[in-house]
Subunit: 391 residues, 2 copies
């Protein structure tokens, strides 16, 4: 038995964890370089993108095999990806400079933004000089890592039970190039839970699979996707309670990313059941989040269920039109070979689609595989944002 209560201050809900952001001039007039630091060295677990061209900050962490750190430096507007050895050297140079300003233990860098451009080291060093290392603003950090995001993504909980108590907080950024194949663009989670080191990575991977790996904005998997879980170990621990709290944190942040998808006006859960197995349920659900025809129908609030069926049929999963069932919330439009779609049903389904958030249920009627994926619509603004990104 345990109780999960929302609290304030995001990643700074943990004692001894500091965070902040400054305006380094990468953005016109907003925070663009930030930090997370800790009084003590933190145990850390992480998941990185499956994109073969992993960005320099990811290569750096893997190269150094970092398991503990007390400092994360993050920047937006430049991904430091496809920058080769030079990109890694830039990180070394920047972190070397950082170490002249504050005591650091195996510091980490994390970047997001345009791919294929060298970092402006001078600007980042000037940002470091402006840091208030005693600041405890999760919000400024959350803003510093935003690119085309329209709002900050933060959350924190306190968890109490017979085992004692711990806290957990997280920040993330998303918006575009979102089809995480391991984690989303950037996500940082802090906790004081006393998790055994050997459980951290497994738990993170398990919860990631049903949260960040279940969302898609545009089907594009970035070079920089990273999720970090850090703990001070000052609190208590209970595995069940921790997994539940971590899931709540990651689900909230993942859904915020979908809600804030580039140009998105709706966040839709595609609940697939009855698949041959879990993997096929995931294939079908992810295919629905990535189909342009489904996404544009969502934008048009058009209950064109034929596009949903066609996408399932093209997704490669085992399916049969005599077994398939499709509903918009509780409105069944197609039931195992029977087209129920008439004017009245269409009107009801259309009303549901006007909501900012709703569920589409697809039952394949074959096995017991289940998966829920979260996607958004495709609007004029997605095209606008991405056609004009660099100009």
């Amino acid at each position: 038995m345990f109780r999960i209560t929302p609290i304030k201050n995001g990643i700074c809900c943990i004692d001894g964890i500091y965070a902040g952001g400054v305006k380094a001039g990468f953005k016109k007039d907003d925070y663009d370089v930030g930090f997370i630091r800790s009084d003590t060295s933190l145990d850390i677990a992480y998941l990185f993108t499956t994109n073969k061209f992993q960005a320099a900050p990811i290569k750096y962490v893997k190269l150094k095999n970092i398991k503990n750190t007390n400092f994360i430096l993050a920047n937006s507007k430049n991904a430091n990806a496809l920058t080769g050895i030079e990109g890694i050297k830039d990180i070394e140079d920047i972190l070397e400079f950082l170490s002249t300003k504050i005591d650091v233990i195996d510091p980490i860098m994390s970047s997001t933004g345009v791919i294929g451009v060298r970092l402006n080291k001078d600007k980042i060093k000037k940002a470091i000089e402006k840091f208030d290392f005693n600041e405890r603003s999760s919000n400024k950090f959350a803003r510093a890592i935003m690119t085309t995001d329209s709002f900050e993504k933060e959350i924190a909980f306190e968890v109490e039970g017979e085992f004692g108590k711990f806290k957990i907080g997280g920040v993330a950024k998303g918006a575009g190039m979102i089809n995480p194949a391991m984690a989303t663009m950037l996500c940082f989670i802090t906790t004081d839970a006393n998790i055994p080191q050997n459980e951290m990575q497994d738990i993170l991977r398990e919860i990631n699979e049903i949260t960040f790996n279940a969302i898609s904005v545009d089907g594009d998997t970035s070079t920089n996707d990273s999720v970090f879980l850090m703990t001070t170990r000052e609190g208590d621990y209970n595995k069940e309670a921790f997994k539940e709290a971590l899931k709540k944190v990651m689900q909230k942040l993942a859904l915020d990313i979908v809600r804030d998808g580039e140009g998105a006006t709706k966040a839709v859960a595609f609940v697939v059941s009855g698949a041959k197995n879990k993997n096929e349920a995931k294939m079908a659900a992810k295919a629905l989040t990535n189909s342009l025809l489904v996404k544009t129908a969502l934008f048009g609030e058009d209950p064109n269920w034929g596009r949903i069926a066609s996408t399932i049929g093209a997704s490669g999963v085992e399916c049969d039109e005599e077994k398939l069932k499709i509903s918009f919330e509780n409105v069944i439009v197609y039931n195992r070979g029977k087209i129920l779609f008439d004017e009245e049903i269409e009107k009801k389904a259309h009303e549901i689609m006007k909501r900012r958030e709703f569920k589409i249920y697809v039952d394949l009627g074959i096995g017991d595989g289940k998966f829920t994926a979260y996607g958004c619509d495709l609007s004029y603004d997605y095209v606008k944002i991405n056609a004009e990104y660099r100009t």
Copy 2:
């Protein structure tokens, strides 16, 4: 040695082949039901969609195992897909009615349009009554099968060599739900070449792989994709010449579909080389045609090569940033670990992207696998067309 000369009249370039279209009222005021027929029974080869929910017209042809026919009835605005047994019965009923109007041998139906709605049999029967069976208008037929297409897709050639001569003509429709996993939406090719029956299917499949299977408008594979190859066998035959002519027909029609992709302003060839093998080259090239971020960059005429690299990295193919090379036509932007992209190169690449058609070269530098895929940009109009499709 042989010579391929463009000729007129599309599929009606072949003696004894008739085609036409009438206005049945499915469209506001345009041709929407058409036919192709022949004086004699035609040998026929076909390829159908890999979508698991194949439409009723496809199921019908497979069920009857049709190898020869003298009549194809086609309609737009309704795909007769996800309509179950009833959808097949509707075809039987319609073709039964057709047989009271003209002598038919194993007639075929072919449909395109909205999924999940029963055919209006009465309208189609009325259309049949209006057919002028002696009409020889490839163009009217091409218009009758158009949905969101903005122009007719037709082509014909005469091929002459020491072996004698034959003719070949084709029509197709495309526009949306175009990521053919076997053939595009609808394509009909007529010839009088005396091809051995056992070679027809193999040649069609081989040429299809590098033409229709190499294009994508939106990554959505429809329930109705079909390509038909029909011959009267009245002409001569030479395998090499026939393959070359068939390739020219199918390539022209496939490219026309990309050029006329919903909302498309550009047709781009993604020429991938140096892949581990042909399959990986195809995976990479197709991934580029389907990436929303690449497609919106094309629309914005933004030479954001980082998105191309990122898409390659996420496509699942073997790759290495030290071996990768990316060019817009002859302008190299990234060369095996070196970022060549500066203001001058950017300007040159931007100029190339202003063209209506151009090539993007990606050399993976690993093996000798090559594949060229054809795609288009993603514009506001794609969203508009598909958000408003049924309303």
